[in-house]
C-alpha cells in the first residue's frame, strides 16, 4: 500500500523553502503523540508518483558517469580538472546569486551540478582555468539565475556558457589535442599534470571536413564509437553516451521525441547531401558519430526547461536542432553547429510551445 506514495526516507531538508514542511512534519509527530489528532487538510490529489526534480537531475548525472570515465581515459587529468573547476564555480555562482537576491538556496536541486558537468563535457580539454571559470559564471549567471533560476531560463545554461566562451575566446575554444597515450608517457609528469605542455594538438574529426584543413585523415567509424578521437571532453565516445541515454530513456527522465527528431533529421539531411554529391559530403553515419551530435541530442537538447512543453512541439524542436546543425556543419564556416542550433531552437521553443499546445478533448471552450 505504501509503494505508490512518494516519500524519500533518506531525504534531508536543506533549504529554507521546505521549512514549512519541517513544521508540518513536526505537527505530524505531535499528532501521533496527542490523543486528539489534528487532522491535516490539503487539496487533492493526496498521492503522487515518485519522481522529483532532484531525482531527474541525479538521473542525468548518473547517466553521464560512463562518458566521464571515457573522458578520463582519453584526456587524462584534464577531464578531472575541467569538471572539478566547472562544478566549483557553477555551484559558487548559484550560491552567491541566491545570497544577493536573498532567496533560499537552490543547490539542493542538483540542477547546477548538471549544468556544470554538461558545460565541462562540451569544452576543449586544454582550455585554461580562467576561461573555464568565466564560462561557468556566464552559464549560471547569464544563462540561468538572471532569468529567475531553475525552470525559468529560456536558454540551456551550459550552452550559454559555452557560447560565451566560443565568442569570447574563439582561438582557445578551437584548440584541440590528441588523446593521451597512456602507454608512452603515463609515467611522465607532464601528462598527469595535464597542461598543454606536451599535449599533441590534433584536429577534431569535424574540423578535418572543412576546406583548408591540413590533415584530412578521417577517423574510421569504430574510433568514433569508442571515442579515442580529439574533441570536446565528453562528446567523443558514442558508446558511453548511448549507454547513459538508454538509462535515461529507461528511467523516463527523457522521452524519445527530441533525440529521434534531431538525429533522424540530421541523418536524412546528411544522407540527401551524401547521395547528391558523395565526393563533397561525407557518409551520414560519420556525422552522427562525430562531434557533439549524440551528446547534444540526448543530454543538451532534451533539457526539460528549455525545450517545448508538448510532445509534438518536442519533435519539431528536435528536427529543428538536427537540420540547423547540419546546415552549419555543411555550409557554415564553423565545423560544429550543435551548440548554435540548440541555442537557436531554445529561442524558438516558446513559440513552438505556443503553437503546439493541444486543443482540449472536446474542443475549445465556446465563448
Amino acid at each position: 500500500m505504501n509503494s505508490n506514495v512518494s516519500h524519500d526516507k533518506g531525504q534531508e531538508f536543506s533549504d529554507a523553502r521546505t521549512q514549512k514542511i519541517h513544521e508540518n512534519a513536526k505537527v505530524l509527530e505531535k499528532i501521533a503523540e496527542a490523543s486528539q489528532p489534528e487532522w491535516i487538510v490539503e487539496p487533492g490529489p493526496h498521492l503522487s508518483d515518485k519522481s522529483t526534480t532532484r531525482r531527474l537531475m541525479i538521473d542525468v548525472i548518473v547517466a553521464l558517469i560512463p562518458a566521464m570515465a571515457v573522458a578520463v581515459w582519453v584526456f587524462g587529468f584534464n577531464a578531472i580538472r575541467l569538471t572539478g573547476l566547472c562544478l566549483v564555480s557553477c555551484l559558487a555562482t548559484e550560491y552567491l546569486f541566491n545570497l544577493i537576491r536573498k532567496r533560499p538556496g537552490t543547490l539542493g536541486d542538483f540542477s547546477a551540478v548538471v549544468t556544470a558537468i554538461i558545460l565541462a563535457f562540451s569544452l576543449p580539454p586544454t582550455l585554461p582555468n580562467f576561461a573555464v571559470i568565466l564560462g561557468s559564471v556566464a552559464a549560471i549567471a547569464i544563462g540561468k539565475m538572471i532569468f529567475g533560476g531553475l525552470g525559468q531560463n529560456i536558454f540551456n545554461p551550459a550552452m550559454v556558457g559555452r557560447a560565451f566562451l566560443m565568442t569570447a575566446f574563439p582561438v582557445l575554444m578551437t584548440t584541440w589535442v590528441a588523446p593521451v597515450d597512456w602507454k608512452v608517457d603515463s609515467s611522465a609528469p607532464a601528462a598527469v599534470a595535464g597542461e598543454n605542455v606536451d599535449a599533441v594538438s590534433q584536429a577534431t574529426p569535424l574540423t578535418m571536413l572543412k576546406p583548408g584543413s591540413a590533415d584530412r585523415k578521417l577517423p574510421v567509424l569504430r574510433e568514433l564509437i569508442i571515442g579515442r578521437t580529439s574533441g570536446s571532453l565528453g562528446e567523443t565516445s558514442v558508446v558511453a553516451l548511448l549507454l547513459g541515454a538508454v538509462y535515461l530513456l529507461a528511467r523516463r527522465t527523457i522521452t524519445w521525441h527530441i533525440p529521434l527528431g534531431m538525429l533522424g533529421s540530421a541523418v536524412i539531411f546528411a544522407g540527401i547531401a551524401y547521395m547528391a554529391a558523395p565526393g563533397k559530403f561525407v557518409n551520414p553515419m560519420f556525422h552522427l558519430g562525430a562531434g557533439a551530435m549524440i551528446f547534444g541530442a540526448f543530454y543538451i537538447a532534451t533539457d526539460l526547461v528549455s525545450s517545448p512543453l508538448s510532445r509534438k512541439g518536442q519533435l519539431i524542436y528536435g528536427v529543428g536542432c538536427g537540420v540547423l546543425t547540419m546546415v552549419i556543419r555543411q555550409f557554415g564556416t564553423y565545423p560544429e553547429g550543435v551548440m548554435f542550433s540548440i541555442l537557436m531552437m531554445n529561442g524558438l521553443a516558446p513559440l513552438i510551445t505556443r503553437y503546439t499546445i493541444s486543443k482540449p478533448l472536446g474542443g475549445n471552450v465556446r465563448a
Binding site: 560565451f164 524558438l348 505556443r354
Partner: protein, 192 residues
C-alpha cells in the same frame, strides 16, 4: 542568378540580421515585443514598408539623384520618401481597412523612425545592388526583422512566468536574451 538572389535573401534575413548584426530597429524590438501577435503585426508592417521603400529609393537614387549628380541629397530624399510613404499608407489603411489598422496600422507611425528602413535603403546603395537585388534584400531584411521580433516576443511571453530580478525586468532581460540569440545567430556564418 537565382542562387545569387537566394544568397542575398539569406544574408539579409539571417546572417546579417538587421537586429542581431546591424542593431537596426532596436527601439521597436524592445518596445513592441511584449506580445506575439503585436510583434507579428509590427514585423509584417516593417517588411511591407521596407520593401516598398527599398524599391522606391532605389528608383529615386538611380533615376534622379545619380543622373543629376546630387547624391549628397540622398539622406534627405530617402527620409522624405519613407516618411511620406508611411504616412500615406497609414491614412489609407486607417480609412479603408479599419480592422487591418487595428492589428497592423497602429505600428505604422512608429516605422518612420525605425532605423531599419532607412538603414536598408542606405545599405542597398552601399552594396550597389540592382533593382531586383534591392527588392530581395529589403524583403529579406524585413522578414529577418519580423522573425527576430517574433522570437523575442515568444521569449518575453514566457518570461512573464519567470521570477526575473526586479532591476532586470523588461528591457534589460530582453537585451540579455538578445545577446544570447545574437551568439546563436553568429553560428550561421556562411561563406559564399
Amino acid at each position: 542568378m537565382t542562387s545569387d538572389l537566394i544568397f542575398v535573401f539569406i544574408t539579409a534575413a539571417i546572417i546579417n540580421n538587421f537586429i542581431f548584426k546591424y542593431f537596426l530597429g532596436i527601439c521597436p524590438f524592445l518596445g513592441v515585443s511584449k506580445r506575439t501577435d503585436m510583434a507579428m503585426g509590427m514585423g509584417f508592417a516593417v517588411t511591407f514598408v521596407m520593401t516598398v521603400a527599398g524599391v522606391l529609393t532605389w528608383i529615386i537614387y538611380h533615376m534622379i539623384l545619380v543622373p543629376m549628380n546630387i547624391q549628397f541629397l540622398q539622406y534627405i530624399t530617402f527620409i522624405l520618401v519613407i516618411a511620406g510613404t508611411v504616412q500615406l499608407v497609414e491614412m489609407y489603411v486607417r480609412k479603408f481597412f479599419p480592422n487591418l489598422y487595428e492589428s497592423f496600422g497602429i505600428f505604422l507611425p512608429m516605422i518612420t523612425t525605425n532605423c531599419a528602413i532607412l538603414g536598408a535603403c542606405l545599405f542597398i546603395q552601399k552594396f550597389e545592388y540592382n533593382l531586383i537585388q534591392a527588392a530581395v534584400f529589403s524583403l529579406g531584411g524585413g522578414l529577418g526583422f519580423a522573425m527576430a521580433i517574433t522570437i523575442m516576443a515568444g521569449i518575453r511571453e514566457e518570461l512573464n512566468f519567470s521570477d526575473v530580478p526586479r532591476y532586470f525586468k523588461g528591457p534589460a532581460i530582453t537585451l540579455i536574451s538578445a545577446a544570447i540569440l545574437a551568439m546563436a545567430f553568429s553560428g550561421f556564418l556562411i561563406k559564399r
